[in-house]
């Protein structure tokens, strides 16, 4: 069973942050508040990375998600003022999706809890990772031949295509004549 130590307590606090933040995002009507709740939730995820001995990923999480993406969302909300307080939008099938989501949640909860606490659960607790994953390890994993070099390269092509596409879609027709 679970020992009560500093890590477990930290995990519990972070979980409250992540889940509470997520709940805030979906319940608030104000998009700016929603963005702030999202920051809270993402901060909790950064904490998870620290617990998983991946401080570099935690820093990236803070820099990219909180520093860049959340700010971008706030800017987008500011620039589209009419969206700051939305009315309720529901279609007739909301109960169907509610049932599906609850069933999926229960299935996942059981699926995750069973191997940990159910019968035949491993008696000893295996530690997650002995090595601290820093920038060097991450960099090697991305470019080493037996690491993730192929997904890395495909992702770079993908980003090129996405960037070209964003320009194509956003370009103003009038500029073309110039």
């Amino acid at each position: 069973m679970i020992e009560l130590n500093a890590q477990t307590i930290a995990f519990a606090i972070l979980s409250v942050l992540v889940l509470g933040g997520g709940l805030g995002v979906v319940t608030t009507r104000n998009l700016v508040h929603g963005a702030l709740w999202l920051v809270l939730s993402l901060l909790g995820v950064a904490g998870y990375f620290v617990l998983l001995s991946a401080p570099f990923l935690a820093a990236v999480q803070v820099l990219v998600y909180i520093g860049a993406i959340a700010i971008l969302i706030v800017f987008a909300v500011m620039l589209t003022r009419s969206m700051t307080s939305l009315g309720e939008v529901r279609n007739r099938q909301w109960w169907l999706s509610a049932i599906t989501v609850i069933l999926l949640f229960l299935l996942l909860a059981v699926g995750i809890i069973l191997p940990v606490w159910g019968r035949g659960a491993p008696g000893e607790v295996t530690s997650l990772s002995a090595t601290v994953g820093g920038a060097v390890e991450l960099g090697e994993a991305l470019v080493a031949g037996d690491g993730f070099v192929l997904p890395f390269e495909v992702a770079s092509i993908l980003l090129t295509a996405a960037m070209i596409g964003a320009i194509v879609v956003a370009r103003d027709e009038e500029d073309e004549g110039a």
């Binding site: 299935l107 996942l108 059981v110 699926g111 995750i112 069973l114 191997p115 390890e137 090697e140 080493a144 031949g145 037996d146 993730f148 070099v149 192929l150 997904p151 495909v154 992702a155 092509i157 993908l158 090129t160 295509a161 996405a162 070209i164 596409g165 964003a166 320009i167 194509v168 879609v169 027709e173």
Partner: protein, 501 residues
Amino acid sequence: MTDIPVLADLNLAWTWPVVGLGLGATLLLVADLFIPRDRKQQTAWLALAILLVSFLLNLAAFPVVDSAFFGMFVVDPFSAFLNLIALTTAFISILLSVDYLQRSGMQRGEFYALILFTTAGVMLMGHANDLVVVFVSLELLSIPLYILAAFRYPDVKSSESGMKYLVLGAFASAFFVFGAALIYGATGSTSLPHIFEVVARGFAAGGAPELLLLVGTGLVLVGLGFKVAVVPFHMWTPDVYEGAPTPVTAFMSVGAKVGGFAALLRILVFALPVLSTGAVEASAWQQVVSLIAAATLILGNVVAIAQQNVKRLLAYSSIAHAGYIMMALAAAGHAGFGEQATRAALVYMLAYMFTNLGAFAVAIAIEKGDGSGSDLEQFVGLGRSRPLLAGIMAFFMLSLTGIPLTAGFIGKWLIFQVTIEAGLVPLAILGVLTSVVSAYYYIGIIVRMFLREGEGDPAAGGTGLVNGAVYLTFAGTLLPGIFPYLMTDLTRVVSTTPVGG
């Protein structure tokens, strides 16, 4: 870890069809800068040349079984066959696009580069031997398609099409990633051969598979189900197909499906064939896939009857055809039938590719420059004004129905055969019955073209290139219909043994 691997270790030799295509697409973007605005057709010729080179490289690699990038990338006849389909689809789509873009004022060089990028994504889906690679290739396949769907930019319908595809596509990707994460959690690996080993070991030990693995497989099925548009994940299809520029719809209806089915077959048949809930011979996913196939066949074929727009009709028809390929997948879930069913699915996709692209080519020929004119009424009298075009369209419709002497018949025959042999007789009967239903709306088009009086559309869009595409797809539909071994022999070397590790 710190040893720097030399390039030779990556075993790049057989990856050139895909790597070359990605490289070509990137170079095409640069070359396009130097091509003047009024001569953008030259970009299209370059794109066609790149596709041709990739096609020839792929033919050279056809019977090779090997793996590259330390097992992440697999080269085998299965992926080579899918590459042939993907490259031909892109080739014909570009033939259809050149004049279409010109007359609707959308002639931009980026279009062709984006088609090449998404084709590279489709090909990578077939080569992927690792869930991470499947995911990035799925995105490489999808993101250019979102943009292409919205390419007729200020047009509201086209923007709606791109937006819907983007939102639902992102949703589907999220399902896929979640599923892949759960499979990783249950097996400790994202590599497909390794997953196969872990699941097979668990099966041999007699234990029931972990719930997480089952849920993960289910979520992966949902994510890819969106891509190939099977019921109940098909809702976006008619709107997206209708709003997108027609050559893009033509590409989407084949390319995105081929990519999705490549990954489905690779994951379910190659990696998880022994995922079983007990001593039964069928995989745990067989029942779900059968149900999806049945629902897709019924809904796709029945709703297609009510359609008044040829693009919407072909959208529902493409949903129905995804249902037939799902039938093959269901049959593959029966122990010992994986190989035969995979071959049937491959032949079906090849036949569907030629026939469906041909039908879209004819639809482009009669479409107006402003994107209107795709109502079914537009076909009235075409048999009088353009008899050859109408005759070929009639042949495509018969092939989609599955009448003998067409490629569509061979595909359906192989799929029904393997479904019956795998013991899924009710599903096979449903397949035959829905084919009969589909005859109603396919033959409805033939009736409009030949039997109803009308002025007849001049088919102004039927330029030399479009006609070329029509004849090419006609040959691709007719010849295998008469000589089936042209298609079936190619699949003879396909095996479903997991490669590398």
